[in-house]
Symmetry: C2
Subunit: 327 residues, 2 copies
DNA sequence: CTGAAAGCGCTTACAG
DNA sequence: CTGAAAGCGCTTACAG
């Protein structure tokens, strides 16, 4: 199928292609009303669509932004994507989405190459920690980029919650409820976010003069299964009375396993989750959560992508604690 | 930042740009090993990346496929997208994702225009019913397309579950459990999928000589809230003993509301959901479901997109009933 | 095995 | 207000 080009429109409207291009671009001063009408009529008649590839080639830029997102173990990434998508749409930006493995250098490099091969306007990376070579590739590309939800290194732009503060506030909340033996479950303790939350957790304990216990911190991957495993462990090896689930799904795993073990939530075990997606409201008991503002996160990331200046600006989006039935 | 082009590589490797192009394309017969090595070395040194926009312009095709997906009310679309994404990745295809309103002609047209403006290889439409003008736009574009999860009209390619059969089998399952008063909740009764499921439901009742009752069918939109509303209605206006939730979320809404009303699931009310995503396993009671094969659906859709021939081929992916605790 | 050249569909100074 | 022309970075017959 031969598609209709700017030439066909020009011929039909009896003007030059330059004029058609100007009308298309809306350079008002550059053509008469009569011309404009003829061109629009021709476009209508022929069903003409601009060829973006040609435009991108000649202008060396595009209105495409790329999202790299790690294959979901949790469910919040979708919310961020939705937010980015909606806001991008308003600004006439197209969105390319690529899933990458979280610690998989090969897919990271491949995805980045795919993206860099076209003149994308910017790259958003949602909860992916980039491997060494991938970081260099991204830097050398010179393409504006923002890390979302996961803070990378100090030299990159990122928007996320303040995970230290999340760890601190979640812990403080449980302490104020009278708990002294508090678990911290299912986070990746050797990754940036995990470290921040652990640090915040420990800091809260310390500030309240509560002794810490390494056995209370359960390494995991934010998944439901990880929550299940942690609860089995906690029940058999510890005497905690409260636990912070590092994600909603992990918290649900904890609660379901507790119920199976005849441990009443919240009476025998208080649970608070981190994330606060719709899941916390549809399970029973409804889960008290540290609720992150994912929608705002996506919106902010998009703004940062186009903001001039500081290449290492960090923005923390707000979070709040929503008390429900599990604590 | 001036990026490096094929010219730079040619100069560095001391060959023509035609040769560089051939090496890049891997046309083995067309260059010597020595040349190949020099070119690859130059590419390495300069950090050259092909400009996709130029390639697309000259070849008039791309390896981009577009996904239009309706703004999620349910949670299964993500599974389909994940599947498409993974399989596309293997075939070196990039994926553009656009969210569109379900009955929103404006966003549908805008999204389609965005997509058609570049030489995309194909368009996948996940659970979106296209409005009239949008349908024409898609057809006239001449771009290969497949509807996923929602069957459109008979003239388009689609892959989905057989929703008549789903309605039939879900109903039969409950009948075999001894139920005669069976609700069908939260589906859009005036859309294609809803109609199919209703028809299957009625057919199963008829085949088993069970009288139908219009009051048992509750119009909705597959959402959690819709499930909640239906249960309030059923409890006050009907005496059903079993109900089919049109999505997992709807079923969860039904169950949570039943519990609030002191109606025991499954003893006083049996519940079966349609979808069978991970949600059915993390709530309590775990929900018996008609489990659709979303992963397979995405995979199949991608294959259909590139299959020659029949422009109106339909493929039904399989489903199964998984009995759990809610029935 | 290799290169010169045409051409893909646009945009944008430049000249009028 | 308008057009002729150069050029974006590639691919691919064509000719050798």
């Amino acid at each position: 199928m031969m598609s209709v080009t700017i030439k066909d429109v020009a011929k039909n409207a009896n003007v030059s292609i330059a004029t058609v291009s100007r009308v298309l671009a809306g350079k008002k001063e550059a053509y008469s009303l009569a011309t404009e009408k003829r061109v629009h009529k021709a476009i209508q008649e022929l069903g003409y669509k601009k060829n973006k590839a040609a435009v991108e080639l000649v202008t060396m830029k595009s209105n495409v932004i790329a999202i790299l997102v790690s294959t979901p173990k949790t469910n919040f990434a979708m919310k961020i994507i939705e937010s980015i998508q909606k806001n991008a749409y308003k600004k006439d930006l197209s969105v390319i989405i690529l899933f990458v493995g979280d610690n998989d250098e090969e897919t990271q490099i491949k995805a980045l190459n795919t993206v860099i091969e076209r003149p994308v306007k910017g790259i958003l990376l949602i909860s992916v920690e980039l491997c060494g070579d991938a970081i260099n590739l991204l830097k050398n590309s010179g393409i504006s980029n923002v890390f979302v939800s996961t803070a990378m290194s100090k030299e990159s732009k990122f928007v996320s919650s303040d995970d230290f503060k999340i760890g601190y506030e979640a812990t403080k909340f449980l302490i104020h409820k009278g708990h002294k033996k508090i678990g911290l479950s299912s986070l990746e303790v050797d990754k940036f976010i995990g470290q921040q939350r652990v640090a915040g957790y420990l800091s809260a304990l310390k500030d309240h003069h509560i002794p810490q216990n390494d056995d209370w911190i359960f390494d995991g991957d934010y998944s439901y299964e990880s929550g299940v495993a942690s609860m089995q462990y906690y029940a058999s090896q510890t005497d905690i009375t409260a636990v912070i689930g590092a994600s909603d799904l992990a918290a649900i795993g904890i609660i379901n396993t507790a119920q199976k073990l005849d441990i009443n939530v919240p009476d025998q075990l208080a649970v608070i989750s981190i994330d606060g997606t719709y899941l916390v409201d549809i399970v029973s008991p409804r889960i008290t959560s540290v609720t992150q503002s994912f929608y705002n996160m996506g919106e902010t990331a998009l703004k940062m992508l186009f903001s001039k200046g500081n290449e290492s600006s960090h923005i923390y989006t707000s979070f709040q604690i929503d008390e429900r039935e599990s604590s």
